[in-house]
Subunit: 126 residues, 2 copies
């Protein structure tokens, strides 16, 4: 192998690995980013994120809630108002998430550029 020592690896069935699989998700990262500036409403997230359906947003928020990363505060008003907010635990995720998003912002063009340059051999295509 390469330089992996037993205790170093989260590459197995362990809490760390499961947690990576929890947040390493298309919508999860974006939602957490959307919550990184403070409490946000459901509808605000829909507009802010763009492209996510209500279903996926609710589903993602629920998962984060049950994992203790965000809280859900529903005000008993009409029309309903629901705010989501990072928990202290969830707040510690802001830094990693921001590093990722900053990297994407900085290198997004290079990545898409490489994609254009590679006309994808299409090994078994057609």
């Amino acid at each position: 192998m390469s330089g992996f020592v037993p205790g170093d690896s989260f590459l197995a069935d362990c809490p760390g690995r499961l947690t990576v699989e929890l947040i390493a998700d298309k919508w999860t990262v974006v939602v957490l980013y959307g919550l990184s500036k403070g409490p946000v409403r459901h509808g605000e997230l829909i507009e802010l994120i763009g492209g996510i359906s209500r279903k996926m947003l609710t589903q993602t928020l629920r998962r984060l809630e049950t994992h203790g990363l965000i809280t859900r505060h529903a005000y008993a008003e009409v029309p309903p108002r629901v705010e989501y907010e990072l928990t202290p635990l969830g707040a510690t995720l802001i830094d990693p998430i921001h590093m990722l998003t900053e990297w994407a912002r900085a290198n997004g063009d290079a990545v898409l550029d490489a994609l254009e340059a590679d006309p994808q051999p299409v090994t078994h295509g057609d």
Copy 2:
């Protein structure tokens, strides 16, 4: 909204957002982590990662390759030997990835703990 200014947001259809969706993926993060120490063979990744099928690994590697994050070097030997390695661009992802994995390693227990504590209302379950 909260504190999002127009230029700040990657929350739209832009290179940054697309790139986040590229790497914010269950296997992608783990594979990149597996490659972070140097060139690794296909079979090594299978064992190292654990739980990934050859199909998903190949698929993930191909996607990373076409996006310019890794290179694939196939040696014309028998039995075949194929090594994957981060490109310079891909290497700049190590820091963000490691921050994420370190967070997961540190907080994995807390996350799973919260999951146990929340017996998930099961809104429409059953």
